[in-house]
Amino acid sequence: MAYPTEYRYTKEHEWIAADGRIGITDYAQSTLGDIVFVELPAVGAELNAGQSFGTVESVKAVSDLYSPVNGKVLEVNEALNSAPESVNADANGTWMIKAEFDASQLENLLTAEAYEKFVSEETGH
């Protein structure tokens, strides 16, 4: 699985780009399976690091989406309403929300390398 080095990651399996785009990792989409529903906050909603900002549902499971940073929702990817499966097809390229946030917070998050190590420890392979 590929984790772009220009992103930062959380232990809850979200990625965030420097421009504020937030999505879930390839590992997360693969674990969830066929994604059928993404529930996202309204534009302007407050984001708190480590707290849920929405949910993603596969056929068999519901999973919370956790914000990597404190900030505010600038934009919501409305295309996911009709095509949630694009998260499976391209987790790295499919953002869910765009956040307005203080970029210094990125320092607190995992690098691609650290995230990959975290995942391999979590799954034992």
Partner: protein, 379 residues
């Protein structure tokens, strides 16, 4: 059971599933594949083509010897005297309260020789229940053959075409819920049953549970099914398929706190049969009291949201009245569906109810069951 330790049980095909890169889960203490290529693809393969499931975690109890019919009649709610040799039917073991110990498929192998196929998670409990209920009857042999068979389910409209390539059995002559024995993949005397848990045509075969034989048969079925687009299917698709077909799952729609009439399974419960089967008196009392107070219904979500197992059900004016027992997106119908227990007076088709999905109340309506019915054959 899983609570006795962390070691999961494995079927003979465990290494095969892992080699196919299946996602594995703990299901009732068993390390089982939940999906291989993807739940939706697997589900659709069964609805439109064919899929292959390892269901070896299911248990098999054989009752044999003089008096077995009487024992079965006491143990199970359906009327086994109606079965002919080579025929099977849906039935259940009940508690004295008329609730479920487990649901089963009973096969009549020959006179006074029966095979009861039981659920994985309830295997030990079931075997003990059978022994206790039948009691000391020296003429009856009760054998737990659960670990002796690898049970494979070949399901879907093309299942017959796949299996035909591997057997000399005349499959067309086996009616739904009948079975026979024959040569399959070079193995003699294989039980071939036209049964399943998907709401689709299909077969279940029982082969010896050694790893080499099990793996060979699994691979031969996949190879034979290639031209029909066969997919190995996991428990994820098995669950969505049975849900669309509104088939009960133990621990969800049926349990030891839910009685036969509530579950809508009265048609498999023969109160008129002579035998005083366990649970009969309680059910007669329920019937005399005017029937059950709550009922299993099908819900279709009207507004956006997916009902899940355990979510509470409300009236539109906010009174909590029931609970979802199974809920999921329906891959074939492309709707969000659920089974739920609600008061009988709210069970009519088109009744509007709300399901609490996290913090939101999501509107749904009662729809007829099953959600999906396989198309009639047009030959």
């Amino acid at each position: 059971m899983s609570d006795s330790g962390s070691v999961l049980r494995k079927t003979a095909l465990n290494a095969t599933h892992r080699a196919l890169k299946a996602k594995m889960v703990d299901f009732g203490g068993w390390d089982m594949p939940v999906e291989y290529s993807g739940l939706i693809a697997e589900h659709m393969a069964v609805r439109t083509g064919v899929g292959l499931f390892d269901v070896s975690h299911m248990g098999d109890i054989q009752l044999r010897g003089p008096g077995s019919l009487d024992a079965v009649q006491k143990l199970l709610m359906n009327d086994a005297s109606k079965l002919q040799v080579g025929q099977a039917h849906y039935s259940a073991m009940l508690t004295p309260e008329g609730t479920f110990v487990d649901d089963v498929v009973l096969h009549k192998l020959s006179d006074n020789d029966y095979l009861i196929v039981i659920n994985a998670g309830t295997r030990e409990k079931d075997v003990q229940w059978v022994r206790k209920t039948i009691g000391m009857m020296p003429s009856i042999h009760i054998n737990d053959y659960s670990d002796m068979y690898t049970q494979l389910a070949i399901q879907g409209p093309k299942a017959i075409d796949v299996l035909r390539k591997l057997t000399d059995v005349d499959l067309d002559s086996i009616k739904n819920y009948w079975f026979t024995w024959g040569k399959v993949c070079g193995l003699y005397n294989v039980l071939v049953a036209r049964t399943g848990y998907t709401g689709e045509d299909g077969f279940e075969i029982y082969v010896p549970s050694d790893e080499a034989t099990s793996t060979r048969v699994w691979n031969e079925v996949l190879e034979a099914g290639k031209e029909f687009g066969i997919l190995p299917c996991g428990l994820g698709a098995r669950n969505t398929l049975r849900l669309e077909s509104a088939m009960a799952l133990y621990g969800h729609e049926i349990s030891d706190t839910i009685n036969v009439f509530e579950a809508g399974l009265g048609r498999y419960c023969k109160l008129e049969k002579e035998a005083d089967f366990v649970g009969k008196q309680a059910l007669l009392a329920v019937q005399a009291a005017g029937g059950p107070k709550r009922k299993l219904v099908g819900l279709e979500m009207v507004d956006r949201g997916i009902a899940r197992d355990g979510y509470p059900v409300f009236t539109l004016d906010g009174k909590e009245v029931g609970v979802v027992t199974s809920g999921s997106p329906s891959p074939f119908l492309k709707k969000n569906i659920a089974l739920a227990y609600v008061p009988v007076e709210l069970s009519a088709v088109d009744t509007e109810l709300a399901v609490q999905v996290r913090s939101a109340m999501v509107k749904s309506k009662v729809v007829p069951l099953p959600f999906y019915k396989k198309p009639k054959k047009t030959t």
